[in-house]
């Protein structure tokens, strides 16, 4: 499982304060703690804390890489912010650009831009592409799959290795009127996305969005994560500091035969060496 750790995000109060006060320690501590907890990548999102998003992205990247070599997942809907981060990043161990829709009303070529930036970032540059287009986030299964198919096709046409492509079928909060059908729709879409090419593209989700506003946040997140693993999910943006969630993930992967069982499987999973 390619685990992307979500905590370095300006939407969180302590990160927001750290950004505005240029407090490196908070960021570096989060980078280290999330790495120790099993993160394969660290998501970096400037949030809304600073007016200068590009400068803030660079400051975050540099701050993290001063103490930590875990690859980063640059998280912004603005190509310019991603490009700014790429200018200062060491992408030797990989980088994920997070994320682009298939297209936008204001920018039909947005996905091309992300793919190009990932190509130029080195042999391990990847992107997350959302099953979303200029009409917004689809609510049904078929449109999700159709958009994913267009994304995969575009990657193939441009010679972009589909192993560097993460499809995000977009998790919506379950606590929204009439939204309870969405988790099921997403799983059904994932079953089909897994068949778009061979080997299939990676599939990732921003898990925490699912439980937005709900009371049993952690429980909802981890149950859905376990189900999604059985539908081919091989990456997720999660709170790696949630120990129970990580245990569920290790168990789900073990039950799906993604890692060998041993009596200490939970422990080796958390240490990031379990496979």
């Amino acid at each position: 499982m390619i685990i992307i750790a979500e905590r370095i995000n300006g939407m969180f109060t302590n990160v927001k304060e750290a950004i505005s006060g240029k407090n490196k320690e908070v960021i570096q501590e989060l980078a280290k703690k999330q790495t120790d907890a099993g993160a394969s990548y660290l998501d970096v999102n400037v949030g809304t804390a600073a007016a200068d998003q590009e400068g803030t992205m660079q400051w975050l990247v540099e701050t993290i890489q001063e103490t930590c070599s875990t690859p980063l997942c640059l998280d912004s809907q603005k190509p310019a912010v991603i490009a700014a981060g790429l200018k200062v990043i060491n992408a030797e161990n990989g980088v994920i650009l997070n994320s682009s829709p298939l297209n936008r009303k204001s920018d039909e070529e947005i996905l091309d831009k992300y793919m190009e930036m990932a190509q130029n970032a080195g042999p391990k540059g990847s992107i997350i592409a959302l099953t979303m287009d200029k009409n917004g986030v689809p609510q049904d299964i078929d449109t999700r799959v159709a958009i994913a198919a267009e994304i995969v096709q575009k990657a193939m046409e441009k010679g972009f290795d589909t192993q560097r492509l993460f499809i995000d079928p977009i998790v919506l909060p379950v606590k929204v009127p009439n939204a309870q059908v969405q988790p099921g729709n997403m799983l059904a879409a994932m079953d089909q996305i897994g068949m778009l090419c061979d080997p299939p593209p990676h599939m990732t989700i921003g898990l925490s969005n699912l439980s937005q506003g709900a009371v049993e946040r952690s429980l909802i997140n981890r149950v859905f994560l376990a189900i999604a693993v059985s539908h081919g999910l091989d990456s997720a943006i999660v709170d790696v500091l949630d120990g129970k969630l990580m245990d569920v993930l290790a168990t789900a992967e073990m039950l799906m035969n993604k890692q060998l069982y041993s009596d200490s499987y939970l422990k080796v999973y958390a240490s990031g060496s379990g496979g």
Partner: protein
């Protein structure tokens, strides 16, 4: 029709492990041997991805074997009671890459030899040959825990491969092997989940994963080889998938297991062919089958079987071909 490209890319690889220490490295070996390093399935992918060539460790026992069939004892008849000479013969005449000194004699049910005896034999063998040495206990936990730490200490600095440790008996030997700078063999009874667990336990004691060779147990041709085969195969796939707890090179015990088979040793069996050929063939076939499942070090006994397997390895790993 064009042949589709089926190149697989794996995230992990088998660790490379070097055995033996030369004078410059603090030992007395004339050469070292490196195994492992494969980053693809066996015989899959490019030549470079195959890693290091598999090697043969020829068995030398610490006492004169009493139960070896004539065909097996014959090539060693002059040296069976002299482990040093025996080891020398394996290296100089039969081309052993490594020598595996097997301490049968310390077993309480055999000659119950003490640690002083085992240490003396270890020294004798180390002095007689220049190749790296494998030091293998008798299989009785209590006796191994008494004797093997002393053996380890006496070979300190030689970077030997010592074992075996198991899920329910690993602490004593792991600690001493760590202190004496040896590589360690973790053993499991044809059970890959236990194999992984032993590696985790040993690594919890601070023993580096990069210094471990795994022994999954071996079944000879006709006697469970398929279990050994599928476990080796699964271990390789786990290593390639990035499971660091399963990324060790592998040792198997073909000599002992093959010569337990009645087909290998029964003299009075008309219709089974010449007993002089049968045993070496049984051993060679077992070894070659396991090579195809991905093993790195093969313990062997009969020189004719060794010759066949060496030739097989040379042909397949010939980089110029």
């Amino acid at each position: 029709m064009t042949v589709p490209e089926v190149a697989e890319s794996f995230t992990g690889s088998v660790n490379k492990v070097t055995l033996g220490a030369t004078k410059e490295e603090g030992g007395t070996r004339s050469r070292t041997v490196t195994v492992g390093g494969a980053c693809n399935v066996v015989y899959g992918g490019s030549v470079e991805q195959a890693g290091e060539k598999p090697v043969i460790a020829m068995d030398v026992l610490d006492i004169k074997p009493t139960d070896w069939p004539d065909v097996l004892a014959e090539p060693y008849k002059d040296v069976l009671d002299s482990p040093g000479e025996w080891a020398k013969k394996c290296v100089e005449e039969f081309g052993a890459d490594l020598v595996c000194l097997k301490f049968d004699g310390i077993h309480p049910d055999k000659e119950d030899k003490d640690a002083a005896y085992a240490v003396a034999v270890t020294q004798e063998v180390l002095k007689a040959i220049g190749v790296p040495v494998v030091l293998w206990g008798c299989g009785n936990d209590d006796k191994d825990n008494q004797v093997m730490p002393k053996v380890s200490e006496s070979a300190k600095g030689e970077n030997c491969l010592i074992g075996t440790v198991a899920e329910d008996n690993y602490k004593a030997l792991t600690a001493i092997a760590l202190a004496d700078g040896h590589k360690l063999i973790t053993a499991a009874p044809l059970d890959i989940n236990i194999a992984k667990q032993v590696n985790i336990l040993v690594s919890d004691m601070g023993f580096p994963l990069e210094r471990i060779i795994t022994f999954q147990s071996t079944g000879a041709l006709g006697y469970g080889i398929e279990y050994a085969y599928s476990i080796q195969e699964r271990q390789r796939l786990a290593a390639l998938g990035g499971d660091k707890m399963m990324a060790m090179p592998v040792i198997c015990d073909v000599g002992y297991e093959s010569w337990r088979a009645k087909e290998a040793k029964l003299a009075d069996a008309p219709g089974w062919g010449d007993v002089g050929d049968r045993g070496p063939m049984w051993e060679a076939t077992t070894a070659i089958c396991l090579l195809q499942a991905g093993v790195d070090i093969i313990r062997m006994r009969h020189p004719r079987a060794v010759a066949v397997v060496k030739k097989f390895i040379e042909q397949l790993w010939n980089r110029e071909a």
